[in-house]
Structure formats: C-alpha cells, structure tokens
Point group: C2
Chain length 345, copies 2
Amino acid sequence: MNYAIIFGGNSYEHEISIVSAVVLKKILKEVIFIFCDSERNFYLIPSEKMNSKTFCKALYKKEKQIFLKNAGFYQKNLFNEKKIEFDCAINLIHGKDGEDGKIAALFDFYKINYIGARLEASVLSYNKELTKLYAQKVGVKTLPYFMIKKYDNQKQDIEFPVILKPARLGSSIGISVAKNEKEFEYAKDVAFEFDDEILVESFKNNIKEYNLAGCMIDDEFIFSIIEEPNKQEYLDFKQKYLSFSSHTTIKEAPLEEKLKEKLKENFKKIYNPLFKGALIRCDFFIINDEVYLNEINPNPGSLANYLFSNFTEVLQKLAQNCKNEKSLQIEYKFLNSINGQKGKL
Amino acid sequence: MNYAIIFGGNSYEHEISIVSAVVLKKILKEVIFIFCDSERNFYLIPSEKMNSKTFCKALYKKEKQIFLKNAGFYQKNLFNEKKIEFDCAINLIHGKDGEDGKIAALFDFYKINYIGARLEASVLSYNKELTKLYAQKVGVKTLPYFMIKKYDNQKQDIEFPVILKPARLGSSIGISVAKNEKEFEYAKDVAFEFDDEILVESFKNNIKEYNLAGCMIDDEFIFSIIEEPNKQEYLDFKQKYLSFSSHTTIKEAPLEEKLKEKLKENFKKIYNPLFKGALIRCDFFIINDEVYLNEINPNPGSLANYLFSNFTEVLQKLAQNCKNEKSLQIEYKFLNSINGQKGKL
C-alpha cells in the first residue's frame, strides 16, 4: 500500500501537522509527502527532507510543485504532465483546511481515494457546538454549555470556574480557564482572536479524561487502547506535540471493564456511519461512571499511532476499505425531451 | 461587475442547473459560463452556445477546458497559462457538489470570490435532518419527523399520510407521499435509491407554503416578495423548472402584514450569520398562524431572480460585499524553536 500524506494547510495547527507527518515517516514504509503551504500550493517533499528546517527556512519552495486535478496530483514537465502515483491519501492537516471539510471536499470532488473524515463528518466535528448537537442526536452525553457571540453584549450569570473554547478550532489553541469575571473578560478576548463564537462550559479541575481511537472496517470496529492523557489543567500545544511524538509506551488506563465497554459503546454511536473512512480519536470525560463526549478528533496527531500496537496493519486495512463517493450518471433525459421544442432553451 | 456562473456538477439536478444558468443568461449582462461536467471537468462555454443542445449532445467537450488552481480558473495554452478573468463567481450547481459544500470548499481553499453558502452553511442545509437541528438551535420551528435508515428494520407505528424525503437531496427528487403501509414500502424503496437515510414527516395536503428569498448586505436584510408556490401535492422537477423560468409575473402572497413579518423574522434567524455571502430561499409552512421552516435552498433555481423586482442590483451589492475566508499567517515559531535542537525532528 503506497500512501500519500497530505500535511500543512492554512491552519493554526500548520506546524503540528508537519510534526505529525515527520512522526509517521518513521512508522510507515511506502509513503510520499505532499505539503500544502499556507498559500495552498502543493509540493512533493522527498522523504530525506522531512525535517523542521525544510519548512521554517522555506526550503520546500525549491521542491517540485504539484497540482490537484481530476483523479490525482500532477507534476508539470516541459511538454507533459506526470501523475503522482499512490494508492491512498492520508489527510493529516490538522484544524482549518484539514478538519473543517475542505480537504475532504477536494478529494471527493477530484475522486482521490483517502483516509479521513468525509465532508459532513468534518463540519460536525470541527464546530464544537455542532458536535454537541450531533452527539445528542446519536444518544451520547456532553457537558452543558452556552455560546457567546462576538458582537452580542448580553450579560450572563456565570458560575466560575468555566472553560472558554473558540467554536471552531482544533488543538487547544485559544482555550482558557476563567476563575472570575476579570479572567473571563481576558479569556473572551483571547478566544475571539480565533473565532466569532465561543463555547463556554463549567470547568471541573479533577475531571477524568480518557482518549479512545478507532475505526470501522467492514462491519467490525478496531479500537486502540484507552489512554488517560497526562495533563495539567488541560493540554497545551507543546504537550500535545510531545505526547504523540514520544517513544515511551502508553499504558492502558486502569479502568473497570464495564467503563471501558461504555466508552467503546459511545465511540460506536459517534462513529457509525458518519465517520466511515476515517481513523478518529474521541476524547471522553467520565463523571460518576457516566460517559460524556468532550471532542472528536477526525485527524488526531500522527493518527494516534501510539495508541495502537498494530498501527500499520490497521491503517492498511482501512486504506483497502475506503470507498469513494458514488458517482452519478447524467443522462440528459430532460434536456433531450425539450431540445428542439420551440421557445424552450 | 463581471460574474462567472458555475453550473452543472455531478448531481441529480445537473440538468436543472443548466436551465438555471440559461435563465440567468437572459438577465445578467457581464457574465461568463463555467460548466462542470458530470466527471468534474470544467469548460468555458461561450454565451451563444448556452442552450440544451450543447449539453445533451456533449458538444461542450469541444469548448476550452479550464482548471481550478490557486486564485482562479486557468486555461492552458501551448506555452503558458491564461487566467480566466471575472470579479465574482456564482455557485449555481444545485444539489450534490453545489449545495453539499464541495464548491464552497474548493472556492474557499483556492481563494475564489463567490456568491453562495459557505461550507458549514451548505452542510447544514443539504442534510434535512441537520437543517432541523440547526433550526431548533436558532429558535425556528420545524415539523416533527423521524428518520429511517437503510439497513435498520425497526417497525414504526405510522399515522398516515406521511411524506418521505431522502435526507440529502435538493429539489423534489425521490420524495413521495404515502397514504398506507403498501405505499410506504414502495416510497421507501424509491427514496433509498438516493440516500441511506430517509426523513419522514406527517403529510398535510392543504398546508400553506410560502417561499421567501433574501440576503444580507452589511447589516441590512434585502427580501424578495413572498410567494405562495403553485403546487399540486408537492412540486415536482418539471414544475420547479417551469416556475423559475417562467416569464409570468409572480404576485405577492395575500398574507396579513403580521404574518409577513413573522416569515421575515424566521428568515433572519436562519440566515444570520451562517448564510452570509449567499442569496438563499427559505420555504416555510404556516399552520395556525405559526411559521415552520420546511427547507433552505442555498442555491435556489436561477437564484430566485423572479421573486425580486431589482434582482441585478441586489446581486451586484451582494457580490461587492462577499468576503473571502480569512487567511492565516504561518510564522514557524514552534519549528524555529526546536530547529537545531538535538533529537528533535
């Protein structure tokens, strides 16, 4: 199986996507790297140049620029175009472009075979409020919340502490905890830098968080181990990077079998059928033995490879199982029926 | 203002999109036509060839093929590439590709200025169940419903008559009314041809339906007249075509001022801010003086031009007011900080 990893993107998580791709370089054998720069130009990056310098010194601009067209990426030569060969793309752009549905739309439109959340799944997981509405619809609990909008000055009665999250960002960017009114005002300003809508939840410092990754192949679910992430108040950008690039072995969270099953049942409700084709990570809370969805990561850091003992095997099965969107035959019945009729078109 | 109308697409409404474009040819002056064929190849169609024959006889394949790239559509010549010049694109693909978010994603990604619903708005209006969840969230009533899924054989207690709608199709394709169990089974088979999920609502034959189109420019709403569509049980494909291409003047529905205001208030809740950049049509029911949203048409037939007395003026203002998605600056702070550190990337 030849993979093409698509990474970068015009995203606040552009850099973490580069790190994600470099981590997978060490794990996957037959893989090519397609970098989407912040201007949305695509470059083919040789494996040996997959390092931080290539990107932060803009050396990638010396590499071959390629173009997305119908049925593939193409490289322009003097007299012809060469198709870039691979079996399955992996959408590894985090946040905007990658997780908001743009890459899914491009790949569906141009009939590229890919691992990743489809358009509707992307939009529902990218917007944290829509994630809550979706979870409710499929019978998964989430924490109570309210929204604040940028130009809406309605005063809210707030029970502190609360956590403020920009509605549409991945990672932990723009997220703050506020313990009082003053911190709340500051946290609002921070979050409004990133989105016009902020989701506010009650913040519980000692809440138990568990991460579970998985995917569905045919009608079978494959799950990762359940991780209890090592966190302070909440995970920041650097911590997240360190966690998914670390070589230390992750230990399964010491949870009762019954609770593990509950987490998996909730994962299944979220995943099936919306996320078919993707390997996702769901982050859950457990409060009084009840499971609550915190968020869905349709493109988790390095595809959460560190949570699987048989990652390459899972990925290969998933790649073989990915289905492109059904293409319709257009027969022009209606236009044929009116073609030639007077006064019609 | 030079427009580029994008029409066609791999959609069950491919042909109705061609009709939509032909209708606008007669109304807009400075406009070029970009046809997306069922394979998703783009062609530049000269205005004089905008007729049914060009498409149903596949003559469009003789026209110039163009390609979507960063910041525009391009035509390949022997030694160079020529950019196709226009100020603002109009997304006029109906149904799949156009209204499901793909075109929005492509145009956002490649920074094309366009009139049309954005990605999130497209996904929420394309899926009829998500439309209901969204309407509920913004405080707009919809009719009660239940969903049936293709491989789920749960028996439902049904009070007939009901109307069955494929969850994700525009137009009236695949929609049937069932008056009894036998008709229901047949209607299910029809709708499952188009989607794996069907939305079922109680059907009221004498329900009053009203269509209202509009858009927001700066902070002001511009509304069309309110139309009471001429329908039998419900509008079929051919009727819809005839209605938006007809030259007969549409008369404003004879509604009390209070109800008209109510329709507009509900439109505003649906539109703002999700549909900014688009001219949409909302189809409402009125039952006992209460307004219910039936559906949102983000790309109504020929942009519902026939409902506006000053259509070209509205369109021009909207085009001038369209904003592209904000582009982010990537500064490589994190990669710079670790570049050169031992053991890191």
